[in-house]
Symmetry: C2
Subunit: 146 residues, 2 copies
DNA sequence: TTTGGATAGTTGCACAAACAACTGTATGCC
DNA sequence: GGCATACAGTTGTTTGTGCAACTATCCAAA
């Protein structure tokens, strides 16, 4: 097992996630400019519902790496914006299934395109294989700690 | 200039910063276990003051990549915890210089060791050169967007 | 069949972040 | 000197996060 002892000075950026903060800010700005009245966090919930509609809040917790109260409130706000709807599960009355509204379905294409564009700006002048290494390392970090 | 068009499915982790979230949570947990009553965000301010004491709030904004209101409130909370002290600048009365208290100076060694330990756990089984690539890519992303 | 433990979701609290609007101070230009 | 402008910091509002405590429901074992 290699020695990964961290040199001082490299600590900070990794822990604070400056890069992902910068990406999220840029994306939020682009949403605002496009007149899209949603937050990045709300978008991240929609993102998983676009992949699979009708997930339970608990499933959304796992998918988005958030705790239950966070999802409760994000779903509250998304429901207030008429983007999702809580539907009680027939088979298990503890569970809410979260469904996209027509209005939210219409947001998918535009927001995904903006997200794509944002990542292209972020990764400008980085070679694809270096992006791959970065992605793999971050995945391992996540797996090591989750 | 290479085409960095992002494949779908890679989007999510980059934007949400799951890895840095995981690191921050683990670090916070370790602080709590050690009986250290500070947040990661507060620690990140102290981190820069340990490097250079007596910075203005604006300098801390730049160093920590936060806006002015965020720093105002972090300094508020750090001052309430008796970890820093606002000292009006003699030469420019708009400026507060932020100084560490004796108590905060004592936290440096212990918290840096915990942070080191956390990063070693995070990067377990990642070779140093892959860590370097990852770090460089994240730096470029930050520079591209900041 | 009851009961105890697990699971799904909600609520309260403290802390943090982003934005806009504001106060007070400095500075450069006429 | 006086004024416009820029800069440092604060405050209010909305949103999100993490933890702990709570309710309701499910399920399995005695």
């Amino acid at each position: 097992m290699p020695n990964n002892h961290f040199k001082k000075g490299e600590l900070y950026s990794f822990i604070t996630g400056k890069a992902s903060t910068a990406i999220a800010r840029r994306l939020q700005k682009k949403f605002n400019l496009a007149g899209l009245n949603i937050t990045i966090e709300q978008w991240s919930v929609l993102y998983h519902l676009w992949k699979e509609d009708g997930q339970s809040q608990q499933q959304l917790c796992n998918a988005t790496f958030r705790d239950k109260p966070s999802i409760t409130r994000l779903v509250d706000n998304l429901e207030r914006l008429n983007l999702v709807k809580r539907v009680p599960s027939e088979s298990d009355r503890r569970i809410n299934l979260i469904y996209l509204t027509r209005q939210a379905q219409k947001l998918e294409e535009e927001t995904m395109q903006i997200a794509d564009e944002t990542l292209n700006e972020a990764l400008r002048s980085v070679s694809p294989d270096r992006v791959d290494v970065c992605k793999e390392v971050l995945q391992i970090v996540y797996d090591n700690l989750k």
